[in-house]
């Protein structure tokens, strides 16, 4: 019964091989079948494995083969583990993944690279499943880099356009910078833990021992702090957090279902998964937790701010993803790993829904993504509008949609840290930021909805009549995700609403509060109510503000952003993404290019090759010329030289024979 686990990643991988090698001969019909049956099969195997988990057995293991195996030094098996956490991730990946595969049948129809598309998508699914099933960091790294590769290939899927290739390359390189941290983290684990197995790395006793030791030359920074900071740096690459968030908005160059699957629902959440997987390790370092909370909250705010003024519908969603991922990291920093994972799951539902909804709009609009050329689509696309509305309400955190429950749990954990026992000023700032962001999220999502679907139509006259509702698989996938976004929140209804944190218990990330006394519990509940009401007010406020600003009060908005100098400046900053790309280009990219050129010309060519190498050759030739001139043909001169030579040799020989070494 254990040997089944391998089939979870293997099925999509087989799909990749079949479509990749023979897809062209198969034709689109067979390609779709193979492409979609692969993740569906993986879903079926995941489901049956998940069924085995209930009760006594809380994890399944499968050692497939010994992988990088240095006997006695470093023994790393290709081993898969299926526990609550991996099960949840696998269900999301295969569940949402299958829907997106189905959606793609409609979306990618007629594309010249149809089989290539499905091959890549299956390969991605396989790597993503390896990532979450791996039992050690190194195997996880296979998935980690593998999904990065697929992301690269899919962002640059339409590679005739150079901009897409540049975006793909940027994604890969920025991720590699993060992976540099991941690698160093692994090396430190090898040094301090002597292992990369999750079993060892999450053993609290071992961690306590390591935490007491210090990393080289840095006695102030404990080893676990350094390790977790490095892993978090890796996570900022994959999960698009400051300072490595710059690749994700550009990644929207890929086909929209790819954006939904890879750049919203699954791959970008790998960083969250990594933190959850190594929860005890992260918990052992308060410094790192504070850093995570700070980066998460800042990224959430920062990305929401940029989302305010994006005109490309996918760019809004991209920044919103960055922002929501920031939320999840904020939760982790607050110690609420379970809330982070919960939000990961609900986010996968509603963000996939929003992306696929935007894809339906883009499809209907014949590849128009600029919201300034949309508007009033509600009449022509009532179904898509409905779906998009559900997604918007979910991400804004309106009950009873999924986002409400997960976001509430995060904000509550922030609230507890800020105002509960042992509160710190720092935590209050972080909470304030995330609280503000909740309102901003609601606002910019409503803006997106309003610009696209409401108000006057600004659609170009030549496309306006061609706009049509999606059908078939596209509609099916949207509908299924809308249902998930509506009811998904019930996986984690808070105790005060009479719920039971299903997902937290199942994944083992939930921290019990049962040890509290009755009075403490009462305060706890009171705080939970306060937090919930506050965040609800904030979200509703954002929605209402957005509704009026992009409806009847549009004039007020315009005067605020185009006449008020502060408003103008903010809009300028937001519209230009706070100039981070420009900064990186000036500070990192250009200097490396210039440095390379300078080194090439001055060191490699001029100094080494011309002066040293050719110079030596020149000197040799000149010396040769000199000696050639000594060949005068004058016999007595030769004899003289010969005589001198003999004398010198004799002297040396005598020295050697008598001195016998020095």
């Amino acid at each position: 019964m254990e040997t089944k686990l391998l089939w979870i990643p293997l099925l999509p991988f087989i799909g990749f091989l079949l479509n990749g090698m023979f897809g062209k001969k198969f034709g689109p019909r067979v390609v779709s079948w193979i492409g979609c049956l692969a993740p569906l099969g993986a879903l079926a195997v995941t489901y049956s494995s998940w069924k085995q988990l209930t009760g006594v057995v809380d994890r399944l293991d499968q050692v497939v083969f010994p992988w990088i195996w240095l006997e006695g030094i470093l023994e790393i098996p290709f081993k898969l583990t299926f526990d609550g956490l991996s099960a949840t991730m696998c269900l999301v990946i295969t569940g949402v993944g299958s829907l997106i595969h189905l959606y793609s049948i409609g979306y990618m129809r007629g594309d010249a690279g149809y089989h290539r598309y499905f091959a890549y998508l299956n390969l991605f699914t396989a790597f993503m499943l390896i990532l979450v099933l791996a039992d050690n960091l190194l195997l996880m790294f296979v998935g980690w880099e593998g999904v990065g590769l697929c992301s690269y290939l899919l962002i640059g899927f339409w590679f005739e356009d150079d901009a897409n290739c540049v975006a793909g390359k940027k994604a890969f390189i920025v991720n590699r910078i993060g992976d540099f941290g991941f690698l160093l983290g692994m090396f430190l684990c090898i040094v301090h833990f002597g292992s990369l197995d999750f079993g060892v790395l999450t053993d609290r006793e071992i961690i306590a021992g390591v935490a007491a030791s210090s990393a080289w030359g840095m006695p102030a920074v404990g080893a676990t702090t350094l390790i977790t900071l490095l892993f978090f740096f890796g996570a900022t690459g994959k999960s698009a957090q400051i300072p490595l968030h710059v690749w994700l908005p550009d990644a929207m160059a890929g086909p929209t279902p790819v954006s939904a699957l890879i750049h919203a629902a699954t791959m970008v959440t790998s960083g969250i998964y990594l933190c959850c997987r190594l929860m005890p390790l992260f918990e052992s370092s308060p410094v790192c937790m504070a850093v995570i909370a700070g980066i998460g909250a800042t990224t959430a705010l920062f990305a929401a701010f940029i989302a305010f003024s994006q005109n490309d519908i996918k760019k809004v969603l991209a920044y919103s993803t960055v922002s929501q991922l920031g939320y999840m990291f904020f939760a982790i920093g607050m110690g609420a790993f379970s809330a982070a994972l919960f939000h990961l799951v609900t986010h996968a539902f509603f963000k996939a829904l929003l992306f696929l909804g935007s894809g339906a709009v883009i499809h209907a609009m014949h590849h128009e993504q600029d919201m300034r050329k949309m508007g009033g689509l509600r009449k022509q696309l009532p179904f898509t509008h409905m779906m998009f509305l559900i997604g918007t309400l979910a991400i804004a955190g309106m009950p009873p949609f999924a986002g409400f429950f997960s976001k509430d749990e995060i904000l509550f954990s922030g609230f507890m840290n800020a105002f509960g026992e042992g509160a710190s000023g720092q935590a209050q700032i972080f909470w304030g930021i995330s609280f503000l962001t909740a309102g901003m999220t609601a606002f910019y999502m409503l803006r997106c909805l309003a610009l696209t679907f409401w108000g006057e139509s600004r659609v170009a006259p030549e496309t306006v009549n061609k706009v049509h509702e999606p059908g078939g698989w596209i509609a099916f996938a949207l509908f299924a995700l809308a249902i998930a976004s509506t009811v998904g929140g019930f996986l984690g209804v808070p105790a005060i609403l009479g719920g039971h944190n299903v997902i937290g218990h199942f994944t083992g990330l939930h921290v019990e509060t049962s040890g509290l006394s009755a009075a403490a519990l009462e305060t706890h509940h009171a705080m939970e109510w306060t937090s919930m009401i506050l965040s609800l007010v904030m979200a509703a406020g954002g929605l209402v503000l957005g509704y009026f600003f992009y409806g009847s009060l549009a004039d007020v908005r315009k005067s605020l952003t185009s006449e008020n100098p502060i408003g103008q400046r903010l809009r300028h900053l937001s519209g230009n993404k706070l100039f981070v790309d420009e900064l990186y280009h000036k500070v990192v990219v250009r200097p490396i290019e210039i440095l390379s050129w300078l080194l090439f010309f001055f060191i490699d060519r001029l100094l080494i090759d011309w002066i040293l190498v050719e110079g030596t050759a020149l000197v040799t030739r000149a010396t040769g010329d000199f000696f050639r001139r000594m060949q005068t043909g004058f016999i007595p001169g030769y004899l003289m030289t010969f005589g001198c030579g003999v004398l010198v040799l004799l002297y040396i020989l005598l020295n050697i024979l008598t001195g016998n070494g020095s």
Binding site: F141, L184, S596, D609, A617
Partner: protein, 492 residues
């Protein structure tokens, strides 16, 4: 038979070359098929040899000893251990692919070309299995001449310059080494490597001063071959001017003689000096890793780009050798093979496109992935192997080297790991400009994709990359015990 298998492997190509000498030069197809057959026989013998190799045995296996010039203490001594076996196999594997790749590319003086390649194979194999220093030196030098001819006769426009540069550069190094060898002989009274090591350890140890100079001479010679920064400038010239087959052999196998020489001779003969030189050599390797990568970033010629990437990759191997850590050196030996596979395949692929378009300028390409999808797929796989994507071969070696280095010195490990980022930078730039983007030149619209022959010699590379990437255990098992045995040298 089993006891003579190494001689058989080494001499088969030479005998083949002799036979080819009698074939009529107009009979081109017989010559080509004959050379291919000979190299296939060598490969079969190599596999046979690997089958009887026992990883757990320490010391040399399949040893052959005959006295040769007893008066001077020169013997015919062959043997193989975990350090050399993979390199022998790599050589045996690469050559048939190279021969197959020349069928269209080389049209002039086919007979001489094939004879040169076969002689070179004997030279390389001999150098990897020789345990007598003079024997090694003979093979080591013997390789030089066919390579010189291959570049000088079948090369590009500036072939004479490049060939001469290659020849003089390596010659300078090997002369110094020859003097050092003579000194060693005078000191120990033998040319036999195991015997010499024994005597240096027990009866006639070298004083540190002498070790210092001798190590310097050996290392200089090998560092030129590798090539280690700043001795690398012959490599881009040689690669650019060499015909495809020359480049593949050069990058695939020849450079590894340098790193092999360091492990086999320079370090064990003079361990004290090796320790003394450690910081210098480690830093040169690190500079090479970064410098090579930055140089690759600004090249317009595809072959030059790959040549500089070799400087970067072999920096990893030299680093691995001089941190004296078991996992690093095991990774280093593995990485020699990995580099041979990835870079060898990249050069083969460049040859494929060069035959069709007769240019290697990056700006002459762009967008060809749409025209030649199979070619592009192969190219991307080789690229991914080169940048160390987990699951392919490059990662295994790179990871072991970096992990081992980091254990010894976190600073070295951290600096070296930046090479991982830089590697992706220049290789992806290459892929973008070469394969992706819009098609700018109309000539590129009609390039034919890979034919059956090209498939045949490229596919084995891919299969090996995946095999080593997913299941490196058998390879590691062949290497690791020998490395641990080897490191006991430093135990005292």
């Amino acid at each position: 038979m089993a006891s003579h298998i190494l001689s058989l492997i080494v001499l088969t190509p030479a005998i083949g070359a002799l036979l080819l000498a009698f074939v009529d030069r107009k009979n081109v197809s017989v010559i080509r098929q004959g050379a291919l057959m000979i190299s296939c026989v060598t490969l079969a013998l190599g596999i046979l040899m690997a089958g009887s190799f026992e990883g757990s045995t320490l010391g040399y296996q399949m040893v052959e000893t005959h006295s040769w010039i007893p008066g001077l203490g020169i013997g015919y001594h062959l043997g193989i251990d975990g350090i050399s076996i993979l390199l022998v196999l790599l050589t045996c594997f690469t050559m048939p692919m190279v021969f197959l790749s020349t069928w269209k590319a080389v049209g002039t003086r086919v007979k001489e070309f094939n004879i040169c390649l076969l002689l070179m194979q004997t030279g390389m194999l001999g150098a990897f299995v020789a345990l007598d220093i003079i024997l090694f030196y003979l093979y080591y030098e013997a390789m030089l001449i066919p390579m010189y001819l291959i570049i000088g006769i079948w090369g590009g426009k500036r072939r004479i310059y490049a060939a001469l540069k290659f020849f003089i550069y390596t010659m300078v190094g090997s002369l110094l080494m020859f003097l050092a060898i003579l000194y060693l002989w005078q000191h120990t009274g033998t040319f036999d490597l195991p015997l010499m090591l024994e005597r240096l350890r027990t009866s006639t140890p070298l004083d540190p001063q002498a070790q210092f100079w001798l190590f310097g001479a050996f290392t200089l010679s090998f560092a030129i071959k590798v090539p280690l920064f700043p001795l690398h400038t012959w490599l881009p010239d040689a690669h650019v001017e060499a015909p495809t087959a020359g480049s593949v052999v050069l990058a695939g196998v020849l450079l590894k003689i340098g790193t092999y020489g360091l492990i086999r001779f320079a370090v064990p003969l003079f361990p004290l000096a090796a320790l003394e030189f450690q910081p210098l050599l480690c830093w040169l390797s690190l500079i090479g890793i970064i410098f090579g990568a930055l140089m690759a970033l600004v090249q317009d010629d595809i072959k030059k780009l790959i040549a500089y990437s070799s400087v970067s990759h072999l920096g990893f191997v030299v680093l691995a050798i001089f941190v004296f850590d078991a996992s690093a050196i095991t990774g280093g030996v593995l990485q020699m093979v990995n580099h041979g596979l990835s870079t060898g395949m990249l050069f083969l692929l460049i040859g494929v496109i060069y035959e069709r378009r007769h240019t290697r300028e990056l700006s002459d390409y762009g967008g060809i992935a749409r025209v030649v999808p199979v070619y592009a797929t192969f190219f991307i796989i080789a690229t991914l192997s080169s940048i160390g994507l987990p699951g392919l071969n490059g990662f295994v070696g790179e990871f072991l080297i970096l992990a081992g280095t980091f254990k010894v010195d976190p600073l070295y490990g951290t600096v070296a790991a930046t090479g991982v980022i830089l590697g992706a930078l220049y290789m992806l730039k290459l892929v973008r400009l070469f394969l992706f983007g819009p098609i700018i030149h109309d000539e590129n619209r009609v390039i034919p994709d890979l034919d059956a022959r090209e498939w045949t010699y490229l596919l084995p590379f891919v299969l090996l990359m995946i095999w080593i990437g997913l299941y490196p255990k058998p390879f590691i098992e062949m290497v690791q015990p020998s490395i641990e045995h080897y490191l006991q040298l430093f135990a005292y």
